[in-house]
């Protein structure tokens, strides 16, 4: 055990590594948290300024152009203002220089300015929707960060309850609030940890105990540091809210000086994106700390989670260094540097684009991720095993309709699983029997034209399978397809192949059989040709008949080649996406869907990513179980 022999220096190095990693990573997250809070506050600052401008405009009473110019001059946040009136589709006022080139406002909007009008209409529609549904669902304040870092806000101009227009404002980044940096907390924590550790080293002689104690010290230190950081973030948040309140009251003074009556209650400008008052402070300027804290809670919780994960990483690092594994790994790395150099490019590619997505897919399968929340962190969408339960609990494949007839629930996982197995088994049996039969025929001695037959019969394998699928789809066409013409030659009625489960299955089966028999044929033929002729000679001398020769010589010799080929073709057919997706498309009503196409449809037609991921994990488990079982049985037979 490496821990027993850990030297004092190694343990100290471990602690230092853990401290640096843990504190540095946490400090980065704290910094990001501060930046995020500052960004949110800057946006809120701009919202307050723009809302103030909108209220001044709604109060009207004087020339809009004069008003916006005065507002931009007096309110430092506002750099440019444009006002659009929806009813007359006109630009009522603008401080933007290029706008004036196209005519002095008020004037009709030009074609280039249509986006402005669209935004105003969007706000109007959002207002109406939220009113009708009596629920704030659509944004009534549009905010966007421009490429140059400025904010662009659009706030409706109201007349009573009606949105009559909108004011668009470009606001400069608010004066940067001091982030404050990590401060002295990390240094303090690091110093205390090291001192405590050095003292403990004197008292504890056993290397293993030293490692354990150092782990405890680091864990305690990181926890303390995270706690300080959380408090720091919460305080910062309160300071920012105070800043916003002061900002609003400063605006009130500016407005009151020139526009009596506007801004009687500056807390009314502190709006969220649904244009509801945020309620962080009241008309008297009193901050409601309860609301501020409640608003900060999710951010702080997420920060706490990140800090916990980072601490675990730091502890693992410490363990790794203290136990001497780091040194060992480093030596191995240096010793085999050329080997690792050669493997690195492929490994990086595999990790980033195969193993990471696989792990991420596993993680998604435990969440309710959909198209609509794709950018939200996974932790917030966690649903546990709900997706799996939902997939597996749908046991009622057959239900009874009201009139007593039986209805098959084609959407049930078990129906799809059953169909996939039926599909795989029938395809592989057809492939093996047809392929083997043709191989035996082609292996007949003295048969004329053998090479020609072989090259023709191998053709379906060469055709890209998506083309095969589309060709057969055309041939199965109800009205013009050649297959229905053949049916009619024999006096039948044209068949709507994809309207019934049985015929639909027959169609996809035929298609897949056509493209899959050459593989088995080629493999069997290769194996047959490698059987030495003396074996048959000897068998004939011993009086074995044709069948006995086949049973006791041919079949056993084929086995080493056929078994892996069968395994391969089981996996291929099980996942044969193209044929099902392109030929039957699961028709009728999903009855001929196999697991893999069903998973695809859940992901890319219903956009339920989490559910589709869980579905795929189930498919993977089935294949894995098959692989393990197959491996065991073939190994068992090899031993005989």
């Amino acid at each position: 055990m490496a821990l027993k022999t850990a030297t004092g220096r190694q343990v100290l190095a471990g602690l230092l590594t853990g401290l640096v990693a843990g504190l540095l990573l946490t400090a980065l997250v704290v910094d990001a948290g501060h930046r995020r809070l500052n960004g949110v506050a800057a946006q809120q600052r701009a919202v307050i300024a723009t809302a103030a401008a909108a209220e001044a405009l709604a109060a009207g009473g004087e020339d809009a152009q004069d008003l916006v110019e005065r507002l931009v001059e007096r309110i430092p946040d506002l750099e440019e203002l444009r006002v659009v009136d929806v009813g007359s589709r006109s630009l009522s006022a603008s401080t933007h220089a290029t706008d004036r080139e196209a005519g002095v406002p008020p004037r009709r909007l030009t074609r280039d300015e249509k986006s402005l009008y669209d935004q105003a209409r969007e706000l109007q529609a959002a207002r109406r929707t939220n009113e009708q549904e009596a629920e704030a669902r659509k944004n009534e304040v549009l905010a966007e960060v421009l490429p140059d870092g400025r904010l662009q806000l659009v706030v409706p101009v109201m007349e009573g309850d009606r949105v009559t227009g909108a004011v668009q404002a470009w606001c400069g980044g608010a004066p940067a609030d001091r982030i404050g940096g990590p401060g002295f907390a990390p240094w303090l924590v690091a110093a205390v940890c090291i001192v405590v550790f050095l003292v403990v080293m004197r008292l504890v002689p056993s290397p293993r105990a030293r490692v354990l104690v150092s782990l405890v010290i680091l864990a305690a230190g990181l926890w303390f540091h995270a706690d300080l950081a959380v408090d720091g973030l919460a305080d910062h948040r309160v300071r920012l809210e105070e800043g916003l309140r002061d900002h609003a009251f400063a605006l009130q003074e500016i407005c009151a000086a020139s526009l009596p009556g506007v801004g009687a209650d500056p807390s009314a400008w502190d709006l969220d994106r649904y244009r509801q008052p945020r309620g962080r402070f009241d008309a008297a300027g009193e901050l409601d700390l309860e609301v501020v804290r409640a608003g900060a809670a999710p951010t702080l919780r997420r920060f706490g989670q990140s800090a916990a994960v980072l601490s675990v990483i730091a502890l693992v690092l410490q363990w790794w260094v203290a136990g001497g594994w780091a040194t060992a790994s480093w030596r191995a790395l240096v010793k085999n540097r050329s080997a690792y150099g050669f493997v690195l490019p492929a490994m990086v590619g595999m990790v980033l684009l195969v193993f990471y997505p696989f792990t991420y897919g596993l993680a998604i399968s435990f969440t309710g991720k959909t198209l609509y929340n794709v950018n939200e962190p996974l932790v917030d969408l966690f649903v546990g095993f709900e997706n799996y339960v939902q997939i597996l609990k749908d046991i009622d494949v057959f239900t009874t309709a009201e009139d007593g007839s039986r209805i098959i629930n084609f959407q049930s996982f078990y129906w799809t699983l059953g169909f996939t197995i039926l599909w795989t088994v029938s395809n592989v049996s057809i492939g093996v029997s047809l392929g083997l039969l043709l191989a035996l025929i082609l292996n007949t001695k003295g048969l004329a034209l053998r090479p020609l037959y072989r090259i023709i019969l191998i053709l379906p394998w060469a055709v890209p399978n998506y083309i095969t699928a589309l060709i057969w789809k055309g041939m199965f066409h109800k009205q013009f397809g050649v297959i229905n013409q053949i049916v009619q030659i024999f006096g039948g009625e044209p068949i709507a192949w994809f309207d019934a489960w049985g015929t639909s299955f027959a169609a996809v089966l035929m298609t897949n059989a056509w493209l899959s028999f050459p593989f088995m044929m080629v493999i069997s033929l290769g194996a047959l040709q490698s059987i030495p002729g003396d074996l048959y000679e000897a068998a004939r001398v011993d009086g074995a008949g044709k069948f006995q020769q086949f049973r006791f010589i041919t079949l056993p010799s084929l086995k080493p080649a056929l078994v892996p080929a069968v395994i391969l073709s089981v996996v291929w057919t099980f996942n044969m996406f193209n044929i099902i997706y392109l030929v039957s498309q699961g028709e009728p009503a999903g009855a001929t869907e196999i697991l893999i196409t069903e998973a695809y449809k859940i992901a890319f037609e219903q956009y339920r990513y989490g559910y589709a991921a869980a579905y795929s994990v189930v498919i993977f488990m089935i294949l894995l179980a098959y692989g393990i079982w197959q491996n065991r049985t073939t190994k068992a037979t090899e031993g005989i």
Binding site: P345, A462, Y466, I467, S616
Partner: protein
């Protein structure tokens, strides 16, 4: 005497083989005649209102009523099929370069060096072949399209194809490198050559056939791939040939079977020829592991 019975027996075999040949060749002839018919219809002949058996027979004989190249020229001039072929060529070409580079270096390391993690790495490559496509498809879609914003971009598809082809290519090349005698390298090492020089100057030139097969395999995989391209490339101008061909006949719009057939022939002919030339190598690559036991 035995010669006579053999011939009689062979007659039945030939009959059976002939039936199989007809079944095998029919869909291919079907595409050819739709392509050369000059129309967009599935049918080879217009049936009279009350068709007899002869009319029906005419309708299944894969020979168009007129022979014309017009579908081939129209699919390039009136449809963006040329652009789609170009997209496929770019993607498959870059995938080949990228895939061969990644697979040959890794294959060489696995073949020649003993290092910690070698076994785990090779097993990892093998196991990754068992991941079902859709399990990685959703995360890959989120990574490539939502995060990296590489939807409808060559780079996204090239990255994906290169890595999906790696495991097979690595195993195949490792097997080939194993057969190159190590003495060659040892003498070079005596002369002071670095591992990189040995790989570049000795191993690669000796492995030309295997590299060629790997390259063609990567190319064919990328050229024929459908699902990933369908998912990633959502702008019509960025379709690859498979997605484009399906666009002719899969959508809700009018189905253009003539364009599909002509385009299929153009897209499939090169890979079919490649396949028929390479089939023996590919088959031995597929079964090599199994035969060794």
């Amino acid at each position: 005497m035995s010669r006579r019975t053999d011939s009689v027996g062979h007659l039945w075999l030939h009959l059976f083989l002939l039936v199989m040949v007809v079944i095998t060749v029919y869909p291919i002839l079907w595409v050819l005649s739709v392509a050369f018919s000059g129309g967009q219809s599935l049918a080879f002949a217009d049936l009279p209102p009350d068709p007899g058996v002869l009319d029906r027979l005419r309708a299944i004989v894969p020979w168009p009523e007129q022979l014309t190249w017009s579908n081939f020229s129209d699919v390039f001039s009136q449809q963006p099929f040329g652009r789609w072929l170009l997209n496929s060529t770019i993607v498959a070409g870059a995938t080949t370069l990228c895939g061969v580079f990644l697979a040959s270096t890794a294959g060489y390391a696995f073949s020649r060096f003993k290092f910690p993690g070698r076994r785990a790495g090779m097993m990892g490559f093998l196991v990754s072949q068992m991941f079902p496509g859709t399990l990685t498809l959703v995360p890959l879609y989120i990574i490539i399209v939502v995060w990296l914003e590489l939807g409808s971009n060559f780079l996204g598809l090239i990255l994906l194809y290169s890595t999906t082809a790696i495991p097979f290519c690595v195993w195949m090349l490792k097997g080939y490198f194993d057969t190159i005698p190590i003495e060659l390298e040892e003498s070079a090492k005596m002369d002071g050559a670095s591992a990189l020089t040995i790989f570049y100057r000795i191993i690669l030139p000796l492995s030309k056939p295997a590299i060629a097969v790997t390259a063609l395999f990567s190319f064919m995989t990328a050229w024929n791939e459908f699902v990933l391209a369908l998912t990633i490339m959502d702008q019509e101008i960025m379709y690859t040939a498979p997605v484009g061909l399906r666009f002719f006949v899969g959508g809700y719009a009018e189905q253009q079977w003539g364009y599909f057939a002509a385009g299929s022939i153009v897209a499939a002919l090169p890979v079919m020829i490649l396949f028929l030339i390479l089939q023996r190598y590919l088959i031995s690559g597929l079964t090599a592991g199994a035969v060794k036991g």
